[in-house]
């Protein structure tokens, strides 16, 4: 056993030296070096960072917000109801809690707050349990201690088995270690031109008010095209086996406690509210998590009666959203589906406005 002590001691010295030097370099870099751009999220944050932001409705959330909410339709439908809205889709695929909090931070500093701004938000996603994702620029840009706190809150409020939450914690730790080691940070600082800003396959190649043109993405983004093709091939079976069944059955019980998740959403709503915005939780239609979504909407509404919630997790109330013809893949609506949902959302928003008055 003693023969291992010396090498172990040396490994410890090496690791300590590496961490100390990296910590010092990271601190120095945080003063001078900018964050690397990471596609859509950087683009949308930069847009919202504007001092004179005109929009009085912001849609914040994951890919469902990104693909399902068309601000143009929303604004025009609201106008027919007598509401003057100027909205922006700030949805970003895979948006995590720490990313959502950075949007909220940016929103608190931008725009005119005289008329309360409506901020529609969704349940953020947990970090992906993929090594590539843990190392991605996007993840690396959210690696402060505060981000770690958000990441842990996000993971440990999930209605998932404990082992899964531990695994996600491991990946979160890995991404923070990766960030702590400043991988590629000096390189980016010295040679920003050579930074490999690869297409992330999220789409959004052509956007209006933050809403992507799906047909343009299908034409120009291979990942999106493949997803669309795959869905088209399974379209009919999915309608029959999933959507039709959900139209006929009532919500089922879920095995995990949804309360911690609802509380987390309440926290997000509170931070928006504190900063002068009106938070509205949106539950998008998603067949795979329908039971959970229904429970989440109900729990949230009962825990936070002061905050509004719009839930599309109701096949009987929104049958057109449960028609496969209006879907692009198994989790997102297509352009037509987005029209329907955006119009419904505008009706709700207008009703809330009138209620508020």
């Amino acid at each position: 056993m003693t023969r291992f002590i010396k090498p172990l001691k040396l490994i410890c010295i090496f690791l300590c030296a590496l961490l100390i030097f990296s910590g010092f370099t990271g601190w120095a870099l945080s003063t001078y070096a900018p964050n690397k751009p990471s596609g859509l999220i950087t683009e949308k944050l930069d847009y919202l960072r504007h001092d004179r932001l005109n929009e009085n409705v912001i849609f914040l959330g994951t890919s469902q917000t990104f693909r399902n909410v068309n601000p143009k339709i929303f604004d025009s439908r609201a106008e027919t109801q007598g509401c003057r809205f100027t909205s922006y889709n700030a949805g970003v695929p895979g948006l995590t809690l720490e990313e959502m909090m950075s949007f909220i931070e940016v929103l608190s500093l931008s725009g005119d707050k005289e008329g309360a701004r409506l901020v529609f938000f969704t349940d953020p996603l947990p970090p992906k349990p993929v090594l590539q994702d843990a190392k991605s620029t996007r993840t690396q840009n959210y690696s402060s201690i505060q981000d770690l706190k958000y990441r842990m809150e996000n993971v440990w409020s999930l209605p998932e088995p404990v082992w899964k939450r531990f695994a996600l914690t491991g990946f979160a730790g890995l991404s923070h270690l990766y960030a702590f080691l400043n991988i590629g940070d000096i390189s980016y600082w010295l040679f920003p031109q050579s930074y490999d800003a690869q297409a992330d396959g999220l789409g959004g190649l052509s956007m209006q008010k933050g809403f992507p043109s799906l047909s343009y993405d299908i034409e120009n983004d291979e990942t999106i095209r493949k997803r669309s093709d795959l869905f088209q091939a399974e379209h009919d079976i999915w309608q029959k086996n999933v959507l039709d069944k959900q139209l006929q059955t009532d919500a089922q019980d879920i095995s995990h406690d949804i309360k911690p998740r609802a509380k987390l959403l309440g926290k997000i709503a509170a931070s928006l509210s504190e900063k002068g915005d009106t938070p509205i939780l949106v539950i998008h239609p998603e067949p795979e998590t329908l039971a959970q979504d229904i429970a989440l909407a109900q729990t949230y509404a009962s825990l936070f009666p002061d905050y509004k919630v719009v839930s599309f997790a109701n096949p009987r109330l929104y049958p057109r959203l449960w028609d496969a013809a209006n879907w692009f893949d198994k989790t997102h609506l297509n352009e037509n589906g987005a029209k329907i949902l955006s119009a419904d959302l505008a009706n709700k928003a207008c009703a809330f406005m009138k209620e508020g008055r």
């Binding site: 030097f21 990296s22 370099t25 040679f191």
Partner: protein, 463 residues
Amino acid sequence: MLFTQPIFFLFFAFVFALYWSLRNLSARKALLLIASYAFYAAWDWRFLGLILLSTIVDYLVALKIEESASHKRKKRFLLISLIVNLGMLALFKYFNFFIEGATDLLTAFGAQINQTTLNIVLPVGISFYTFQTLSYSIDVYRGKIKAEKSLLDIAVFVGFFPQLVAGPIVRAADFLPQLHITQNWKNVAVKSCLLLFAVGFFKKACVSDNLAFYVDLIFSNPEGYTPQALLLGSFLYAIQIYCDFSGYTDMAIAVAGLLGFHLPKNFDAPYLARNVVDFWRRWHISLSTWLRDYLYISLGGNRHGEIKRYRNLMLTMLLGGLWHGAAWTFVFWGFLHGVGLYINHLLKQFSSVRLPKYPAIALTFIFVLMAWIYFRAPDFETASTLLVSIFSWSSEGQNTLPQTVLIASMACALIHIVWQKWGMESHLNSLSADKFSIVLGFLWMVNFALQASGYAPFIYFQF
């Protein structure tokens, strides 16, 4: 799987731990073989068959050569090895090149030919392992070494993962004896290996990969850049290819060293060479000595008078150029170096005047730099555009390269010279283990922070 990827670190940690925990020599060799094939399969498992073919053929050929009493019979068996190994190379690396060449030639004579090329994928490292196995059979044929009785040993010799895909090209006489003894951890120069790996990683991931972007810009559109930028781009390529290849070799030597094996040095500060002959003693040493021992000498070397000597020299350089890639630009690069060597020999023969050290180094570097342009350029037109713009100091292009690139490349050159001059490696190796661990921690911090985004394959993999 690249040496610079986290997956390789995991792979090696596993192999390393298992290797040293095994006591039995055969078990260790079997582990090395499995690890080597797994490493290669991570690139493309389909080409494992080629390595196996080359291994088995040369194993059997060597045994048969040794068994054979007559010289004629020995030669016949050697011919089998040559046909199989060079045939594999010809098919996978040069088939389209030869077909295109033949078609162009026949078309020039007025023949109407429908050109047929095959969509052949170049197996990674084929030029390296075929040369390695060939040298084994030739050495047995020449009576320099005995044929190896163990197929496992030959398989490990051919497939040894640290040097399988990009060298250095190891000689059987150097490597096989190392497989006959059980390596002892006490004999491993751990500090030296860890330092070499860190330095190799820096060269590849921090220098070469960062410069690659700017080099690609220059060589893909030379018309768009100013002469200063073109000259800088050529200079960057000289740094890139050196750091890429020598960085890989450093890591290969270090990885092998941590498993107790000694691989030959492949680079010795080549840009500090005082003439072209000296350059080839310092650049890709394992290839230049291979070409000398198995091609130049086989062609007759300098045994049949001056004219044949120069013919052999030129042929060796042309084929050396072709070895690097199936394109005429590589052949021309070899030709330029052949001419350089020729002038070098002539000057040595007929003039007693010797240039002082630094002008000689500068002149040699300029020659090597200009020749690299043909090596890197996708075609002669691009190379000519670059050279004409640089020498006439005029270009219609207005684009420049960022100042930081110039400063960083000068800093790299300076670090390299200081590292060599001050013998930094031996200084660091002489530190106590505790201090060395701290220095290594610092080096890895630098490596991580300066690592380029994405993982670029090693340039020499394509050769």
